[in-house]
Amino acid sequence: MNRSLKKSLIAAASALAAVTATGGAFAFCGFYVAKADTKLFNKASKVAIMRDGERTVITMSNDYQGELKEFAMVVPVPVVLEEGQIHVTENAIIDHLDAYTSPRLVEYFDEDPCAVYANDEIMVTASKAPAAAAERRRGDDALGVTVEAEYTVGEYDIQILSAKESGGLAIWLKQNGYKLPKGAEATLGSYVKQGTKFFVAKVNLDEQTKTGLRYLRPLQIAFESPRFMLPIRLGTVNADGKQELFVFALTRNGRVETTNYRTVKLPTGMTVPTYVKDEFGDFYKAMFAEQVQRESENAVFLEYAWDMNWCDPCAADPLSDDELQELGVYWLDGGGDRAEPMTRRRPSPGGAKDVFVTRLHVSYDAAHFPEDLMFKTTGDRENFQGRYVMRHPYKGDAKCEAADRYRADLPKRFENEAQTLANLTGWDIEDIRTKMDDNGQSFTPPKKEKWWEKLWSKSDKKG
């Protein structure tokens, strides 16, 4: 059947919001240490990492929902950071990166089966600006602890600590009003022995008030280190179940993968029933959970890998040079603030910016991810995206032999879609069939016309 397919796109940003907004409080890959006896969670986090050679810029985005004065974060860092190596940025940038890399649902409309069209695909609409979805979210020496530096950056009071042993560090943290979860001391000890420093951040309420914001902005740190890794162990100590982590890696060379865990591509390209449009967020969550189970809960998932110059289809525009620079991409010289319109189509070969983005998604706990995530940059620049397809059947009143065949084929196609969806998400196939039926994807074969019914239909008009 030669049918042109129109497609439109529904961004999955809302799906991510659903994933990340669970749980009341949040802490990044460090752990949340409350100053009061508050129930602690850390459920999900978004981290952007620029990595080029040994140069690293980590942007830690948090969705912290609790009392600001109780917010605290401890992140192992390889070196003592100077004030200029610490920065606070805007949530919008991470949200944009999130939207740009989100799994996406593409919509196709079957054309009149009786008409013959050219077979090229036309991009009709793209998603609305992802911002809409994004907006919805919102005594020391004796202890062997040295406060190497103290800064106030943005709304945060930051201390860089070094410690001789974990016991001293734990006592120091407790004395300074932090509540340490059970088991944290051993993990801290491991980092102490590896010579790690600790980046400790609290909210400076005065400064926070000055920002006029009701939320905390992402903290950024820049440093050089031969280790390309993300510390997740502290985050598993006080975890209430599994945590979701999204890593957005920005490199010059290509895709990033984990070396100590398997990196698996998210299933992509499947055609799913049209009703998924209304519950794409649930679909994404269910599919992800199902894939996590299938990979024995210890795989890291690749959700997006793309040259930052373009996208197709675009869940959001590629990031601007300014945004990329804010995230640590230091090699875009002369980017300035020329707000070039971003291409949604294939760029001219070579591309203007040499930035490759990788989105990894991991659902982790101490049992399945005992060790920190170790990464490597590969030379792989092949594009990959989580993309799902909906095909709306033609609803018009087409009358021709091709239309009969088309309609007769539909139930089989719907059944395939139902099975695909059940297989991806683990949802009950009967529920899926019912929902499809309710949504105009009927499994009942069309009534077969008798051969003689057409014979006199034209001449017998008076009937």
Partner: protein, 333 residues
């Protein structure tokens, strides 16, 4: 993806009829030793025309262990593609294979030794399993370097480097266009056990089971010592040891009989030394390809170890004396 660039190495070198060995005498002079080794007796060698001395006493129809290795690697390749979604295209496999076999053939002609496809096939399978690249040329380059190194980089009558290993190290260090994927096998215990089980059989048939066992043993000791010192849970060293890529390296790369010392004690020193080097590369220099670098360095040092090695050089079960065909081996005679 641009797969269009095939390297020059694919073209056949012009080969004169290998009646004499014009280069081998020269190379022998350069390395200060005769190029070939006799399989029996002392290390005294023959520089006469390629001999046809057979190695092992004919113990009937024992099968060349390289065939087991080829079967095992082939099965792992199929498993990897089918069940682990390894992104290996047929083109990649054929380019590596064609380059390896062509190089083996050309070098055999140049050095006037019998053409032997098995080793080249093992190198092909190893490279296909371990090395990834977007273009085809880095893969072809690795295959060429791997095979050519067997003929060109020789000391004390043996090739210095493990062929697939040096191919991987050379192209990953020299270009950003190729890389390894240490996490590709995952850390499933059953898979690690399966690779180890098959690998044990193959290396046992090749009289080299001690190599993977000592390598893994020493590496495990270092990992556990580190975990104990750091106060880490044992699940961390276990995770490392369950990595399929590490087990594959131990049983199918470092254990190559032709690039391990022939005597038991030197061999143990070799395996243990590689494990220690690998540990240092991985945990002090944070190199995820540490095992490959470690083996390359250990192979460079190996001739020194072999100064104290009086054991007979290894010969493949069905090997004729051909300087080129030293890849794997056979059971103790």
């Amino acid at each position: 993806m641009n797969k269009a660039h095939c390297p020059q190495v694919l073209s056949k070198p012009a080969v004169k009829p290998p009646s004499r060995r014009p280069y081998s005498a020269l190379i022998s002079r350069i390395i200060g030793r005769p190029l070939e080794i006799r399989a029996t007796g002392s290390r005294k060698t023959s520089t006469s025309a390629p001999s046809r001395i057979l190695t092992a006493p004919a113990s009937g129809a024992r099968i060349d262990p390289r065939l087991f290795q080829i079967a095992a690697l082939g099965a792992l390749l199929i498993f990897g593609v089918a069940a682990r979604a390894f992104e290996i295209t047929p083109a990649e496999f054929f380019v590596i294979g064609a380059t390896a076999l062509t190089t083996q053939w050309a070098m055999s002609a140049i050095f006037a030794v019998k053409f032997e496809a098995k080793s080249a096939l093992i190198t092909t399978l190893s490279l296909t399993l371990l090395l990834r690249a977007e273009a085809l040329w880095p893969l072809a380059a690795a295959a060429f370097i791997a095979i050519a190194s067997k003929f060109l980089l020789r000391m004390r009558g043996k090739h210095v480097f493990n062929p697939a290993n040096i191919g991987i190290v050379a192209v990953t260090l020299a270009t950003g266009a190729a890389w390894t994927t240490p996490g590709q096998w995952g850390t499933a215990v059953w898979l690690a056990a399966l690779i180890a089980g098959v690998g044990s059989f193959v290396t046992w048939r090749a009289s080299r089971l001690d190599v993977p066992l000592f390598f893994l043993g020493v590496f495990a000791m270092l990992l556990f010592a580190r975990a104990t010192w750091l106060g880490d849970p044992l699940s961390i060293p276990m995770l490392r040891l369950q990595n399929g890529a590490l087990v594959l390296f131990a049983f199918f790369m470092i254990s190559d009989p032709k690039t391990t010392p022939d005597g038991l004690l030197p061999r143990i020193a070799f395996a243990a030394g590689t494990a220690m080097l690998a540990y240092v590369f991985i945990f002090h220099f944070y190199k995820s390809d540490g095992v490959f670098y470690a083996l390359a360095i250990a192979c460079l040092i190996r001739p020194l170890i072999e100064l104290f090695d009086s054991a007979r050089p290894y010969q493949w079960r069905d090997a004729t004396i051909s300087a080129a065909d030293r890849k794997l081996i056979l059971p103790a005679e």
